[in-house]
Symmetry: C2
DNA sequence: TTTATTTTTTAGACTCACCTAAATATTTAC
DNA sequence: GTAAATATTTAGGTGAGTCTAAAAAATAAA
């Protein structure tokens, strides 16, 4: 049984391991948790004692099989709740993260089973991220960065990498949503920005930065 | 801003004040929280400092206007979540309390507004308890104990006082539910038990104890 | 009304999850 | 390869929220 703080650490370690290097460094973890390095050292010792990570002094933390399962359970809950908030309660996709951060810690396997059924077993959350099933299995669908899409090739928006409210609001504003057809008209050499067509009608420019935070079908 | 533990204390103080004597004694509170009296003394000092109760040494705790508003906000959330669990997710009424105890602490006014709307602004929860509105107002409907109902008078089950899973499961088993028509056929002098008819068809006996935990229309 | 019992508070201690400051180890730069 | 910079850990401390044991106050009983 993990405490709330421990759950958040395990989740962060999982995300840092997935999206980059493993083992996870104390500093990286401290930054992602908005804590100080000394606090992280304390915590990773506790997590190691509980068997959710492997830890060696001055080396870093590696998530264990048990830890990965824990992380996936939490992520599953987070994404199911986000889906619920958007699909059932009418939240916008930029409003759900904070609330889901709280809801993901509710302990009730029955609740999650029933919520999953109520939502009709969704495969992805409102940001296009896959929802692990009850066994922790994730269905990975091949996606590429929009910035790497060939010019003129028809594609579809599949997910957002950076899910900050500001970015999501911007995407809504220019008509981008998960499932939207998209095509690159031209790549501007000067700054790497792209001229794109969304939904076959909305033409606009987006920065390189934005194009590197959107995933599309390859 | 109250912590999770503080929220639970305020709720308990509110319930104890309502359902009995005020001021609330340290011992009563300790019992209801499953904590020791010394811990309670600590906590009520903190709560007094935050202005949610008035506290005098060796006297007891009285909930303040602010504290009452806090308690009602938490109770509102608890009962809305219970309603959601039963009406939308298909929980049984004896399965919801523990989960709602967790969900009631989620901080998001928007979530509660939207949940309320999603449930179509319910007036009572699955146990027949009134749901405070967003201003903390409760619509009290006149109810009497089943044990005090006149023999032969037609009535309707309105709420359960004791909401333990065991009692709720028993009620389901004998066909009692919120809104069920009920009539007392006979009062057994020996032990105060009642012969009742539910729904105009199910005849059965219930103990005095059970009849003192069911509220009906007067 | 004095004593006994119960209730409440105080004192001191513990765990969790954080902190700062200082020490130590590792990495990078010259 | 040594020095400087950076990363990590240790040591000691804090507040929240609990505990036990003992002291103090209030209540009940003789």
């Amino acid at each position: 049984m993990l405490s709330l703080a421990e759950e958040n650490y395990v989740k962060a370690i999982y995300h840092l391991s997935e999206g980059g290097k493993s083992p996870v460094s104390t500093t990286a973890l401290a930054e992602s948790m908005n804590n100080k390095a000394a606090s992280v050292t304390d915590m990773i010792k506790r997590l190691a004692a509980k068997g959710v990570i492997a830890y060696e002094k001055y080396y870093g933390a590696n998530i264990s099989t048990k830890g990965k399962a824990e992380a996936l359970r939490i992520i599953r809950k987070h994404r199911l709740w986000e889906t619920f908030l958007v699909q059932k309660l009418g939240f916008n996709w930029d409003e759900v993260h904070e609330v889901a951060e709280q809801l993901e810690h509710i302990q009730s396997p029955l609740l999650i089973e029933k919520l999953d059924a109520f939502l009709d077993y969704p495969a992805v959350d409102p940001h296009g991220h896959p929802i692990p099933d009850k066994h922790g299995k994730i269905s990975e669908v091949k996606q590429i960065l929009l910035s790497e899409l060939a010019i003129g090739k028809k594609s579809v928006i599949k997910s957002v990498k950076n899910g900050t409210p500001a970015f999501l609001q911007y995407l809504s504003k220019i008509g981008i949503y998960i499932g939207a057809p998209i095509k690159i008209v031209e790549r501007i050499e000067f700054d790497g920005s792209l001229e794109i067509v969304i939904d076959g009608k909305n033409k606009c420019f987006i920065s390189r930065d934005a194009s590197e935070n959107l995933m599309v079908t390859g």
